[in-house]
Amino acid sequence: MKDKPKNKKPIFLFIGKDKEPLFSKKNKKLLSDPLDDNNPITVQVLGICSALAITVQLEPAIVMTMSVIFVMACSNVIISVLRNLIPNRIRIIVFLVVISSLVALVDQFLKAYAYEVSKELSIFIGLIVTNCIIMGRLEAFALGNGVWKSFLDGIGNAFAYGVILILVAFFRELLGSGNLMGVQVIPDFIYEMGYENNGLMLLSPMALITVGIIIWIQRSRNKKLIEQG
């Protein structure tokens, strides 16, 4: 989506009428905002379901992050391209069709080129379809903004989602099974001294509690997020 020839009519394909630089302050904010002030998980509390399901180990969390980044960036772009063509009444259906076909594509490619990973993630890949972040960003952003902006918004939100996912997975795998990426990191002598892995970390409630702790830390650092009451 680099500079395209300017067209008189505001054709849906191109970035927009204004000559904004590709990484203007506003555009950069689209990338950085979701990381903190407007984080999809910790602030908007979207996509919590998958944050519980696939954060037992680090590796699936990372693959999930990459798949979501891909699906989200692409679906944001596609919807943004089509935004002036989509009949308003069936827009949610169109979103669903676009998201699920992208997910089906990811699934097919993983099965062909990364079979082991695809087996590991099996149902979770399909669950990207139900990831509310994607639907939410399509409705709230891509439907009303240009292609480039939507692309950045998609990357930003998916990345911010992934950061939380990876953070939670890091602590759950470390404390729950003493591993990272499937490799044991807690040395044996600590176990011999009486340390035990905390099996509770492997169960979904601890994912919520970990997310809760992250929210707590984030809010104590970022006073903007505290609701005035």
Binding site: P87, V94, V97, S101, F109, K111, E116
Partner: protein
């Protein structure tokens, strides 16, 4: 054209569906050979893993051809059907739905260090969906040498644990026939008094907490599939039969 009119909406949907369907169909068709190849190699890996040969997908084919010396398609009366390649032509899931008299069962014979192993294919149902696997028996067709299990949708952390080594290892050296020569299979039992599985003559392995139904599925799958091979064994007249 008015974006909100019915005809536009139908037109939009029509174009969208045709477009997306062709893209998906095209990708699926182009990637299918690669996917099939992955599945084939995985099958070889699984078969080899039951005889203690753990290989990467790349080496699977070569080592499979090296170790597996015989592939047989057995009819339910114990005769061998020469016209059927058990590895590629028998899909046990479909086979089990057929009329019993038309069913075929694959038997793989592997030889490692001049020791013979019989590998049978397993297929049954767990709690949510199909479970399957392979089981290798030593040359007496009684002692289990190794098993491999897989599943479609058992609960992660509970039923899905059947794929883990600690569970599979508990089958090793268990016997599937009792002293009288009756086929008893292996029972996955909870409240087994032998949690470390030191008793190898009890035809029991310890169950996984929270996955009783998957465990029962494994029990049933083993005895049912073993039963299919009895006629062939009687013909071979191996050991205690």
């Amino acid at each position: 054209m008015n974006r909100e009119s019915n005809s536009y909406t139908f037109l939009f949907i029509g174009v969208m569906i045709v477009g997306i369907a062709s893209i998906l169909a095209y990708t699926s068709q182009t990637l299918k050979p690669l996917q099939k190849e992955n599945i084939r190699k995985e099958k070889m890996q699984n078969i080899l893993s039951t005889v203690g040969v753990n290989v990467s997908p790349e080496e699977a084919e070569e080592l499979y051809n090296q170790y597996v010396i015989e592939e047989l398609s057995l009819r339910n009366d114990g005769t061998v059907n020469e016209n059927l390649n058990p590895f590629s032509d028998i899909n046990l899931a479909k086979e089990l739905k057929k009329d019993y008299s038309n069913q075929h069962f694959p038997l793989y014979v592997a030889e490692i260090d001049s020791e013979k192993f019989y590998i049978i294919e397993l297929r049954g149902v767990g709690l949510w969906d199909a479970i399957w696997g392979y089981m290798s028996l030593k040359s007496d067709f009684n002692t289990i040498n190794g098993v491999s299990f897989d599943h479609k949708g058992e609960t992660a952390g509970l039923g899905a644990e059947i794929t883990k080594d600690w569970f599979k290892d508990s089958f090793v050296n268990e016997k599937v026939f009792n002293e009288n020569g009756d086929l008893v299979g292996i029972t996955v039992l909870k409240g087994n008094n032998d949690p470390n599985n030191t008793d190898k003559d009890d035809h029991e392995v310890d169950a996984i907490s929270g996955s009783t139904i998957t465990g029962d599925g494994v029990t049933d799958m083993i005895i049912e599939r073993l039963n299919n091979y009895l006629p062939y064994l009687k013909k071979l007249n191996i050991a205690q039969l």
